[in-house]
Chain length 352, copies 2
């Protein structure tokens, strides 16, 4: 366990603006500012932004960067920390976050839970229970302060690991591109998603800002840590510029997602509904588009991810004009080839 000496907050000076930074650090700030504007172009002035703060290097750098950019970006800041109670030093982590926020003049919200007990109760893994408890706490604080978004410290190394995990688990395109930088449903914002972790560390070091290390990041019983510690270094060995290629892949996936979303909207204009895809729409579509329309139609009916093999068999049945053919999807959902198109049923619409 690597611990950090008691930070000497008396001697930490927070720069008041970008002009007080080195050219390198100022460029980093400007890149984060540009990316944040790009992914969140319509944020209102003085939008309250809640920073999800663990005290690790990523979220510490996030807090510092947002402090430096808040005025330029028009954010009002707050921070929230959840003590998971999993490690003896977690109380010190909480105190570190509080001290950091005092130093940065950011209102600080904290709570403590017993994640081990929560995992036992919910009969789930520690990592999963921790994530749920954390995001529930962020949502609670968000509501209290009327936050516009919750900003997390996910950075480019996290994105690279996320892409590899999605690949390992059998994700398709564009999902393979990795987590979004802005998730409007959960109001999650990831301003550092295209910034390498090494740059965040260098930034903190240059400014003399301390951070906390989480020893559980080295534990290999979490898939994410195995991917981060075992697989990602092998890709970096093959290609030292691998992180940049991850950022490019992410951008391409975002563009393709937009392309497919636009085509789906066109299909809706042309008469498709969540429960029905008419032949008029399907006949005009490429196979690539048809499969994505099926996927959307199944997903719109409720939880349960359709398997790509089943979607393919559905398309083969449709191409063969196998009227009456029915395919089953997880979550009790079905699709049926009809004389005029494909009808999708959820559990509740089985007789529809």
């Amino acid at each position: 366990v690597k611990t950090i000496q008691e930070p000497d907050w008396e001697n930490v000076t927070i720069p008041r603006g970008l002009q007080e930074l080195s050219p390198w650090a100022a460029r980093l700030c400007l890149a984060v500012e540009r990316f944040t504007r790009e992914i969140l172009p319509d944020a209102p002035q003085k939008a309250p932004l809640l920073i999800a703060l663990s005290g690790g290097p990523d979220s510490t750098a996030l807090a510092l960067l947002m402090r430096l950019l808040a005025e330029r970006l028009g954010f009002t800041l707050a921070a929230a920390h959840l003590d998971h109670g999993l490690r003896p030093e977690s109380i010190e982590d909480a105190r570190f976050c509080e001290d950091l926020c005092r130093c940065l003049a950011i209102p600080f919200h904290s709570a403590a839970v017993d994640v081990e007990a929560l995992a036992r109760e919910a009969n789930t893994g520690i990592e999963d229970a921790g994530r749920r408890a954390r995001y529930a706490w962020f949502a609670q604080v968000s509501e209290e302060i009327g936050a516009y978004a919750v900003a997390t410290g996910h950075q480019l190394d996290d994105l690279a690991a996320d892409q590899l995990m999605r690949l390992a688990r059998g994700g398709g395109w564009p999902a393979l591109g990795g987590m979004p930088a802005w998730d409007p449903g959960r109001r999650l914002l990831r301003p550092l998603l295209l910034t390498p972790k090494a740059e965040l560390i260098r930034f903190l070091q240059e400014l003399g800002i301390p951070w906390r290390e989480d020893a559980s990041n080295a534990q290999k019983h979490f898939t994410r840590n195995r991917v981060r510690l075992d697989i990602l270094p092998l890709f970096l060995r093959e290609n030292p510029g691998y992180l940049e290629t991850c950022a490019r892949l992410w951008r391409q996936a975002a563009m393709d997602r937009e392309h497919w979303d636009e085509r789906a909207v066109e299909a809706e204009t042309a008469g498709s509904t969540p429960g029905f895809l008419p032949d008029t729409v399907l006949c005009a579509a490429s196979a690539a588009l048809r499969l994505r329309l099926y996927k959307r139609a199944v997903e719109a009916l409720g939880p349960g991810q359709p398997l790509s093999g089943t979607l393919r068999r559905l398309d083969q049945a449709w191409e063969a004009r196998a009227v009456g053919k029915r395919l089953q999807f997880p979550g009790g959902k079905t699709a049926e080839v009809r004389p005029d198109g494909i009808r999708f049923h959820g559990v509740d619409t089985q007789e529809g």
Copy 2:
């Protein structure tokens, strides 16, 4: 170095048809037959197929499978082997291939080269020189016998490694999906591309057919071997069904490639030419399509792969209506924003 005992060809019996196989082996044959028809639907009857034979398990299984399926698929078979002269046992490999082809009643063509000398002369790597020499030999035999296609033994484990290598090197989508099963330009056919290597081995074992091991496959100074030996096992550890997900990803990439190809043909109908993309076409296109049209336009002008970052900057210049803005691509190619679209120049058309 793992060597194999002298094969006892006298006691090897080649089944005369699928009915002599176990149900499992017959199903494997039928799956390979279905896939070959799918990827090569328009092969003429009695098309001469040249099998690229190394004597390793993959190409040995390929020769056997093609022997069993030749009549059903309408192929006339021949095989070619190139002795690379890199390993002391390579003469035995050549003799093994000859014996195998005699046993399978497949006409056999062989030659020997000194790949080490070729690599020195061309100032290139051993692996690269070997590949060039091999494919040159296959092309030569193809021409002599009027082959319709050259079939190689690439299987699903090779495809999985190819996808990981493309990812590591920064390939985009759909290139990330991996090598094609049918390359009409090079007339390369890969009938085993979605068959796991383990199934090919089991097939050979069931039928009592020997094969040769290539010790150089264990050498980690080749990127491909490092990916195959170090990275792929980690993905299989995370997901034991990983090879099937690779096959699904490959299918999705093939579909998406078709989608983008169709859109590019539409763009050509609407007035785009290899050297010019008019605003009428670009304004109707999504960003995802525009980037792919730029890529095609640059590639059509000759060798040199455009970087995706440059393509993105070109699109930003076009969106900003930055008339006169010029971007450079590898191979001396350029693109220029004009008042009515984007003009692409090769080295020879610089003044065009």
